[in-house]
């Protein structure tokens, strides 16, 4: 028997193993535990919410509660944004659900966890819906997504939907302090606040930041170290690209864009998503300016899905930024 690997990364080491350990999701946990008492009644589940709020954790907890130590044998974990097409998903899901698991004892069904399922295209989701139907006797699905609106209606109607909201500040701070204590790390209250500020409700981010910060100076984390780590780990390249564009330096901005694509392997939509995220962190822009720029990003996010060449769409987006940047400069 494989002993569960505790893990070096704290996000894994301190990932709750049972529903009872889950932080700050009382209502959701209670409903799920009701299903666990009689697993046969469990419907397909759709877990929706922003990143780092415990969706994957809850799904893995369910797997453990259903199957115990050998949960990996009966659980298929897929990430829709990694699998290139529905065909891989379909083949693996089909193969997985085909073999009856009754031979392995008292297992009601196989569990398929499909993470980032809102990344699937419409046709892929339609295919998935069919698979959910044909395999319903042998398998249950847990679909995880950021926006439930991106999941087609027929799938939504086949699932019990659970919405995960931003984690409570207090609960996050408590959790960080708890981890720090177990790891023999002295975490100052200000440092904990600073980490939670930075994480914006994303517990995964917060724990990663805490672990990285405690590696800096053995077992001691204060506000200064947190700022240092957060600064170093924040993606500056994207901000740099935005800044260059807003400064009217289009050619340099475009060069940065190709750097990002080339050395980090970002796709067009990934870059747009990063731009959106970083834009709101830029302190030298007014909320109105951010809103205007976000509008433009949104437009090109859409155009990317329509167009044939992401380079061209991204260049066009940067050109729009350069134009607005100049107007801003003249007004000032």
């Amino acid at each position: 028997m494989v002993v569960e690997d505790e893990g070096v990364m704290w996000v894994e080491k301190y990932r709750p193993k049972t529903l009872d350990e889950v932080v700050d999701l009382k209502d959701i946990v209670e409903s799920l535990k009701a299903f666990m008492r009689n697993p046969k009644t469990m419907p397909h589940l759709l877990l929706a919410g922003i990143p780092g709020t415990g969706k994957t954790t809850v799904a893995l907890c369910i797997a453990r509660e259903l199957f115990g130590q050998n949960w990996r044998t009966f659980t298929l974990e897929l990430n829709a944004s990694d699998e290139r097409g529905i065909d891989t998903v379909r083949d693996r899901v089909k193969d997985f659900s085909r073999y009856s698991r009754s031979a392995f004892g008292n297992v009601p069904f196989a569990l398929i966890i499909l993470d980032e399922s809102d990344q699937m295209t419409g046709p892929a989701q339609t295919a998935l819906r069919r698979i959910m139907e044909t395999s319903s006797r042998t398998s249950r699905f847990i679909l995880i997504c950021n926006q439930s609106g991106k999941i087609i209606e027929p799938i939504q109607s086949r699932c019990a939907i659970f919405r995960f909201s931003k984690l409570d500040r207090k609960a996050m701070i408590e959790h960080l302090c708890c981890i720090a204590k177990k790891e023999n790390v002295t975490l100052s209250p200000e440092a904990a606040e600073r980490i939670v500020d930075y994480a914006e409700g994303d517990l995964r981010h917060a724990i990663n930041a805490l672990q990285t910060a405690s590696a800096y100076k053995d077992g001691f984390v204060d506000e200064k170290i947190v700022s240092l780590v957060v600064g170093e780990a924040s993606p500056i390249q994207v901000q740099l690209m935005i800044r260059k564009a807003l400064f009217g330096d289009f050619i340099d901005a475009r060069k940065k864009m190709y750097d990002l694509i080339g050395s980090f392997g970002f796709s067009g939509s990934e870059i747009v998503r990063q731009m959106q995220r970083e834009l709101f962190k830029m302190s030298d822009l007014t909320p109105e300016q951010k809103a205007d720029l976000a509008n433009i990003i949104g437009e090109y996010d859409y155009r990317l899905t329509q167009g044939a060449n992401s380079d061209i769409q991204l260049s066009a987006l940067l050109a729009q930024f350069a134009k607005i940047g100049r107007a801003k400069g003249e007004a000032a």
Partner: protein, 409 residues
């Protein structure tokens, strides 16, 4: 020897079996040749250039021992010219007695879609009459069988369709040529040549020869010039005209006579736009049009070709944002994408592997691993307990090194 001869000629197959790809077309062709009771007097071979239409006809002639009376686009195809060549040839052996064993003649007209309106006056109708009168088989070859003027020819001919030759077959052929010519070549280099040829064997061999002329060991690096060169020679010319148009009408006219690949043109326009428009306002407006053109291109996909006119319309608008601001500039070449992205393919593969390992361990997608874990991991690895982290993720030494050297996101 090597200097004197084009490799495409030197290695042109002498036997039908040596013609690569298009097995179905080959079989149909041979069946037609061997059939003594043909329902159609003529045969039209059609398909993209460089896939072996002419080669197949000549290889068959060689193998079965018949004589090919050939005409191609370089000859004028007026009525007179055709009659002069074809007349005597068609009069000899009788069509119904031609078999592959009879060692008679066939008339082969290559590139029949090249028959131009005026100079070849009466060309198509003459060919039609020859087919009708001919007592020997008539074989024709064309690239684009949809041309309106070829319709009468298609009616009286059996049709055999050729496809692009598949990339792996081209690679295998290139390897064979390299071996015979004592050229050492990286597999990736040959792969790139083959891909770049778009299934055109002739151009692949030509590219190989011209690259091998400068070096005895061909690397992937040497092939970077390919896409730049293979871009129609007219591209720079077209771009220059495009960027200097005086009006929207001028741009539309230019685009309606386009002789270059419009996907290439779109990318090249995108590359060069900031050099053309230095005013941010103009640049943004022009890029907006190019972006629209790209959207139309995306919607065209492989079937909605009626949208092409909107693609050109948007592209024309991009050229005519501010005609008065035109200043000559040096064009960017080869395309930026080729310069910046081509060399990073290997890098991206290793990064993908790293992200995959993180994803499996921490239950996240590769994309999330890249943005949410790697920045922290870089710091962790630089500090203490790096070994623990490395062995837990099962990172290979080169992956650790890659992470360390990787620039900050």
């Amino acid at each position: 020897m090597r200097e004197d001869l084009l490799w495409v000629e030197k290695y042109r197959p002498k036997k039908i079996a040596d013609v690569i790809g298009n097995e179905e077309a080959k079989a149909a062709f041979i069946e037609w040749l061997k059939n003594t009771r043909r329902t159609k007097k003529a045969l039209l071979l059609y398909g993209p250039p460089g896939v072996g239409k002419t080669t197949l006809v000549n290889a068959a002639a060689n193998e079965f021992g018949f004589r090919v009376v050939e005409m191609n686009a370089s000859d004028t195809r007026s009525e007179k010219a055709i009659n002069r060549v074809a007349g005597p040839a068609t009069a000899f052996a009788a069509l119904d007695t031609f078999t592959t064993e009879s060692k008679g003649n066939v008339l082969f007209m290559d590139e029949v879609d090249g028959i131009a309106g005026n100079e070849d006056r009466g060309g198509v109708s003459t060919i039609l009459r020859i087919i009708e009168d001919s007592r020997i088989p008539v074989i024709m070859a064309a690239n684009d069988p949809d041309l309106e003027k070829l319709r009468p020819l298609k009616k009286v001919s059996a049709l055999v369709r050729f496809h692009q030759v598949r990339i792996p077959m081209i690679i295998a052929l290139l390897q064979k040529v390299c071996q015979r010519e004592h050229v050492k070549a990286e597999f990736e280099a040959l792969e790139r040549i083959a891909e770049n040829s778009r299934g055109d064997v002739r151009s692949a061999i030509n590219d190989l020869q011209s690259l091998a002329e400068t070096t005895k060991t061909l690397t992937l690096q040497d092939t970077v010039v390919l896409s730049a060169r293979n871009r129609d020679v007219g591209m720079d010319e077209t771009l220059r005209e495009y960027f200097s148009v005086k009006s929207l009408l001028g741009a539309s006219k230019l685009l309606s006579y386009l002789s270059v690949d419009y996907d290439d043109l779109l990318m090249a326009v995108g590359d060069n736009l900031p050099l053309r428009y230095t005013d941010p306002e103009d640049l943004a407006a022009a890029y907006d049009f190019v972006s629209r053109a790209d959207m139309f291109r995306g919607r065209i996909g492989v079937e909605n070709w009626h949208l092409l006119r909107y693609f050109f319309n948007s592209l024309a608008q991009a050229a005519a944002v501010s005609p008065e601001s035109y200043q000559p500039f040096t064009l960017i070449s080869p395309p930026i994408r080729v310069i910046t992205l081509f060399w990073t393919k290997g890098k991206r593969t290793i990064l993908d592997a790293i992200c995959g390992k993180i994803g499996r361990r921490c239950h996240v997608s590769r994309a999330t691993a890249k943005t949410d874990f790697i920045p922290f991991l870089k710091i962790l690895l630089a500090n203490q307990k790096a070994d623990e982290v490395v062995s837990w993720f099962e990172f290979q030494p080169e992956e650790v090194e890659f992470l360390a050297k990787m620039s900050r996101l």
